[in-house]
Symmetry: C2
Subunit: 284 residues, 2 copies
């Protein structure tokens, strides 16, 4: 059980981790390993104070080295869902469960483009997490819509449960490891609907539909989290509407800037530290 | 006339200047030259993201070099008062007047300790600015209470006007250049009061009392600026209660952290840029 789980290893998340460690608070930074994202690719950043004309990769490396050297832990994985249970947050990060007393959401502004009809069907036949929901479709017919290679692993697990499994690559990726029980369908679905209790994908009815993308829609991440125009509203203490849940960086909205993200990560860390202090006082 | 005047050359002010220049907005950073302040003296800063274990002086130098190289201007001087007139802000910085269309307040959290009774008498016999108010006391008896050497220059100007001038050093400083018409009184006043229309300082009645310190009380800086517990309340856009006036860094309150200040300076710059755009659109 960590004191704080930080979701996202960009400027906001790493700044938060650095300041949490300065306060001697245990923390884990959870983020997909992928070396991608706009900042990683940025050739030259001019307005991060103190480090003029630095490349994005180098800047991120400096941030993460600093966080690691102060004792922050890093876990590679995409957080698909967060549950609150028994006084703790449980993060489902690929196949791992990570527990923490408080959360700092710092996953940036990148959002997946959803399919038509997708959002309305979540929890009603559409799922983002094979580990969480696979057993619901034991012996049934499943569609896996996947935008990236990780979907192959998830499909292979689902293939052990399903009676029939169709795999739709939403984007081109390596399929050689796919379980032979899965059939690859080369069309790209544009919309989903429910008909006669089944999920209709390209006019084929399925009992369940798993959608796997390298990013998670905020609407699915954490139940009860208030959103506004795709961003997470926060106050000056970086508090979201949920106790113990802070947000920082691009996911809180404009301006999408490194300095702003670093500042918000710092504030979120300090306010999360205060929250933990109150929590421990009230448990005494 | 500058687009933006930034008051304070700490992390918030310099971060603001850097981002203003990235938007090609003319700006001047106004700050006392003094190489002092807690950050300047900090031996090692551990949690400014990207620059671990850096000394405060080196960090400030990196910030200011970056701002200068992007074209920010710097003016040495203590801003004693800001007036809004004819659609522009006028900053009285020692003996200079600087004009700007928008303001970013980033003067840190250091505040002078006021004398008992001082605040109630400002504008009613007590002044912080010899240039502004000296003529009101022509031929009168004046007290100058000064915490630093700059007070000698101000007193010398006032001595050319006054009939009688007493100089009270609030802290030890060089007095050799003081006009011989000024009498040095070696006691340190603790309180001020008004009696029979005169300002009573150590039981001596004066027509006017000038108080000179190397920092300015926020309550006197800018008329109409809302304060709360000694800080400047801002919203998430770093807007104060006054249009065109933004604040960033320690002067906006806790946490008093470099990363927070840098982030707020960045946001203030971007929001001030938007304000200028609207201003120029409405003037078209």
């Amino acid at each position: 059980m960590y004191d704080v789980a930080v979701i996202g290893a960009g400027p906001a998340g790493l700044s938060a981790a650095i300041t949490l460690r300065m306060r001697n608070i245990s923390c884990v930074v959870v983020s997909p390993k992928a070396k991608s994202g706009w900042l990683y690719k940025a050739n030259e950043i001019l307005n991060y104070p103190g480090m003029p004309k630095i490349g994005g990769e180098k800047l991120l490396h400096a941030f993460s080295e600093q966080a690691l050297s102060l004792g922050a832990e890093v876990h590679s994985g995409l957080v698909r869902q967060i549950l609150f249970s028994g006084g703790a947050f449980m993060l489902l990060a690929d196949d791992h469960i990570i527990e923490a007393k408080a959360l700092i959401l710092a996953m940036g502004a990148a959002r997946p483009k959803l399919l038509d009809g997708e959002e309305a069907l979540v929890g009603n036949g559409v799922s983002y997490c094979a580990t969480c929901d696979g057993m619901l479709y034991r012996g049934k017919k499943i569609a896996v819509l996947s935008a990236y290679a990780h979907g192959v692993e998830e499909a292979n697990f689902l293939a052990t449960l399903a009676n029939e499994l169709d795999y739709y690559p939403l984007q081109k990726h390596e399929l050689s490891g796919l379980d032979p029980r899965a059939a690859v369908i080369p069309t790209i679905p544009q919309k989903l609907k429910k008909e006669n209790g089944k999920i209709d994908v390209e006019s084929i009815p399925y009992d369940g539909c798993f959608i796997l993308r390298p990013a998670v829609s905020l609407t699915q991440l954490l139940q009860g989290l208030t959103l506004a125009e795709g961003f997470i509203p926060v106050n000056r203490r970086m508090e979201t509407n949920l106790p113990g849940v802070y947000a920082a960086g691009d996911c809180t909205g404009q301006p999408l800037q490194i300095a702003k993200a670093v500042g918000e990560g710092n504030i979120a860390a300090i306010c999360a530290a205060e929250y933990l202090q109150q929590l421990s006082a009230s448990n005494r």
